[in-house]
C-alpha cells in the first residue's frame, strides 16, 4: 500500500515538474538558436563570454579598498554563489529595497568593500556578473516568495503589457503574441531571461538584461529609461516570475 502511494506521489511530482520545465510551451532563447550558435555557447572555450568569466574569476579574489575581496566573505563561488543568479532580483537586507544581481554586487562593493560602485555595463561589473551567473548554470529560475516584491512584479507585468513608443507596441505584442515568428529576418524569442549577462554577436560584447531591454525599447521608438531607473528592476522581476522553472544557461551566446 505504502509502495503504491509512494509511486503515485512520485508520478505526480514527475508530471508537475515536467509541465513546469517544458510541457507548458515555454522555450528558452537557447532553443530557438541555430545549432551552430548552440554549439558555440556549449563549448566553454568557444563561448566568448567565458573570457569575461575568466576576468570575473580574478576580480573575485582581488582585494578592494577595505582590504577585502569577494572571496574573503563568500569563499568559493562555485559553492556560495550556486543558484544565486536564479533568484534575483531580491530584497537586500541592508536597505530593505529590491536589487538585481548587479545592484547586489555594487551594494557589496560600497557597503562591505568600501569601494566605488562599478558603472552600469562596465567590463568589471559584467565580468563579475558573468562569473556569479555561471555558478547557477542548470539551476531552475526560482524567484523568491517575498511579499515585498509583489508590487514591483505587478509594476513589471503592467509595463510588459503597456504599449509604448511611436510604434505603439508592448513587450507582449511580440514576445507573447508573436513569439516563434519572424521580425524581419530574426526570430522572435519568448523573452525569458535565462542567460544574462549574454554575449550578443550583434554587440560583439557582453551585455546585461538592462542593455537588452533598452535595445527593445529603442526598437519600439520609445525613449529608453536611464540605467538606474526602477522600470528595469520591475521588468526584470516580472520576467523572472514569468520564466520560473526554466534553467539558467548563463553566460549565454545570442545572435
Amino acid at each position: 500500500m505504502t509502495g503504491l502511494r509512494l509511486a503515485a506521489v512520485l508520478i505526480a511530482v514527475f508530471t508537475a515538474s515536467f509541465a513546469l520545465a517544458q510541457g507548458d510551451g515555454r522555450r528558452s532563447g537557447y532553443q530557438d538558436m541555430s545549432p551552430a550558435l548552440q554549439k558555440m555557447q556549449d563549448d566553454d572555450t568557444a563561448n566568448p563570454a567565458m573570457l569575461f568569466v575568466q576576468a570575473g574569476a580574478s576580480a573575485w579574489t582581488e582585494k578592494a579598498a577595505a582590504g577585502k575581496s569577494c572571496a574573503d566573505c563568500h569563499g568559493d563561488a562555485s559553492i556560495s554563489m550556486k543558484g544565486v543568479a536564479a533568484r534575483y532580483p531580491a530584497v537586500a537586507p541592508e536597505t530593505g529595497q529590491p536589487v538585481d544581481l548587479e545592484g547586489r554586487i555594487n551594494l557589496c562593493r560600497t557597503t562591505r568593500q568600501l569601494a566605488d560602485p562599478l558603472a552600469a555595463e562596465s567590463d568589471g561589473l559584467l565580468a563579475l556578473g558573468a562569473y556569479v551567473a555561471l555558478q547557477s548554470r542548470g539551476q531552475p529560475i526560482a524567484p523568491p516568495d517575498d511579499p515585498r516584491l509583489s508590487s514591483l512584479r505587478a509594476e513589471g507585468a503592467d509595463l510588459y503589457k503597456r504599449r509604448q513608443g511611436q510604434l505603439n507596441l508592448s513587450c507582449a505584442n511580440c514576445h507573447d503574441d508573436n513569439a516563434g515568428r519572424k521580425l524581419a529576418g530574426a526570430s522572435i524569442p519568448q523573452g525569458h531571461p535565462t542567460g544574462y549577462p549574454i554575449y550578443r554577436l550583434e554587440w560583439q560584447a557582453l551585455g546585461s538584461l538592462k542593455r537588452r531591454l533598452r535595445n527593445c525599447v529603442v526598437g519600439l521608438r520609445a525613449e529608453p529609461w536611464p540605467y538606474e531607473a526602477r522600470e528595469y528592476l520591475a521588468l526584470e522581476s516580472w520576467l523572472m516570475v514569468r520564466a520560473r522553472g526554466l534553467a539558467i544557461d548563463a553566460p549565454a551566446v545570442r545572435p
Binding site: 563549448d43 566553454d44 572555450t45 568557444a46 566568448p48 567565458m50 573570457l51 569575461f52 575568466q54 576576468a55 554577436l201 560583439q204 560584447a205
Partner: protein
C-alpha cells in the same frame, strides 16, 4: 595580459590530426567608426596570430579590420612529437599576448 582561452587536446596519437582552437579578448576596433565626439576611433586590431609546435611554426594568419571582436581561430595540425604548442598574438598599440599548452604524443 589579455584573457585567452585555448582548446587543444592534452594527448594525441602520433600522426593524428588534432584540432586546436584559440580565443582571445580584444576589441578589434576597425578604425572606421566615429566615437561619441565625432572623431574617428583609431584602429586597434590584432594584426598577426601564429602558433608554433616546439618552436616550429604550424599556423600563421594576418588579421584584418573586418574580423569581429574577440577573434576565435580554429585550425588543425598533425601530431608529430610531444612538447609545447605556443600561441602569439601581436597588434596595434603594442599589443602582444602569449599562451602555451603542453601536448603528449604517443
Amino acid at each position: 595580459m589579455a584573457n585567452v582561452l585555448v582548446n587543444a587536446p592534452k594527448t594525441a596519437k602520433k600522426g593524428d590530426t588534432v584540432e586546436i582552437k584559440a580565443l582571445i579578448m580584444h576589441p578589434m576596433e576597425t578604425g572606421f567608426r566615429p566615437g561619441t565626439n565625432g572623431r574617428i576611433i583609431p584602429r586597434n586590431i590584432v594584426e598577426d596570430f601564429s602558433a608554433t609546435w616546439n618552436g616550429r611554426e604550424i599556423f600563421r594568419m594576418k588579421m584584418s579590420p573586418a574580423i569581429a571582436a574577440n577573434p576565435f581561430v580554429s585550425f588543425s595540425a598533425v601530431a608529430s612529437e610531444s612538447g609545447i604548442i605556443a600561441f602569439r598574438w601581436t597588434g596595434d598599440e603594442g599589443f602582444a599576448a602569449e599562451h602555451q599548452v603542453n601536448i603528449t604524443v604517443t
